[in-house]
């Protein structure tokens, strides 16, 4: 379970959380409530992959 808070930024809802010592802010508009956890996990995985590969 990814624990996050939300903030509004120019009318867009962002999920704010920290994972793997990385501070994230991720737009979650348009994401069904049931899918938010998976969306955030995918974002973490993508970012870690980018860091690992160097791009």
């Amino acid at each position: 379970m990814i624990t996050y808070t939300t903030k509004e930024d120019n009318g867009v809802t962002l999920a704010v959380f920290t994972s793997n010592d990385i501070n994230f802010e991720v737009p979650i508009y348009g994401v069904e409530e049931d899918n938010i956890q998976q969306h955030l996990q995918n974002t973490i995985d993508d970012t870690l992959e980018i860091i690992e590969r160097g791009y």
Binding site: N10, V12, I22, F24, P27, T47
Partner: protein, 185 residues
């Protein structure tokens, strides 16, 4: 792009450096008036009389950078990159981010990895997810609030990235280098 510093300017019109509407990101035919707050802000005249000549050299951009985009890898292959990555490919001028206290722009590039295409904007240091609304180049706009934002303490890097709307050619070239103007508003 800044408005011209001399010659004819107009509120409307379709010439990029002579149309106040276009500088403000409005359509060429939008209805605008000199007394509007957006136009006053652009002109730098907060109150009182305002004239077209007040708009000479005005720019709505927070920053403008020139990326000499280069390609790393082979365009059209499974892996390739465009734009500027510090020490890897391309260059940037002047490379300091005006709206983030002169932060160093370490990378401004796109990646194509199999079927995944992304555009990255990265600063050295820890900066908040704020300070600009849109990054634009080659006719594409990258809204900050659409980006995945992160601060990565391990590399002391602030990163925004987007899905590349062009599907692999956001910098607009397939070989060699190309100078691309990037603006932030």
């Amino acid at each position: 792009m800044a408005l011209a510093s001399s010659g004819t300017l107009s509120i409307g019109g379709s010439t990029a450096n002579r149309s106040i509407n276009l500088e403000l990101g409005r359509s060429a035919t939008a209805t605008s008036s000199l007394g509007e707050s957006a136009l006053r802000t652009l002109a730098g005249v907060s109150s009182g009389a305002i004239s077209i000549s007040d708009f000479y050299g005005a720019s709505s951009s927070l920053d403008t950078q020139t990326v000499t985009s280069a390609i790393s890898g082979t365009y059209g292959s499974s892996f390739y990159f465009q734009g500027y990555r510090s020490g890897v490919h391309g260059s940037i001028s002047d490379g300091t981010c005006n709206f983030k206290a002169g932060a160093t722009i370490i990378n401004l590039y796109s990646s194509h990895v199999y079927s995944t295409d992304r555009v990255f904007f990265e600063l050295t240091g820890n900066y908040t997810n704020s300070g600009f609304t849109t990054m634009s180049f080659n006719g594409n706009n990258y809204a900050r609030t659409s980006a995945t934002y992160s601060y990565q303490s391990g590399s002391n890097k602030t990163q925004w990235y987007w899905t590349d709307p062009t599907g692999g050619n956001p910098f607009g070239h397939t070989s060699g280098t190309l100078a691309v103007t990037v603006t932030w508003t």
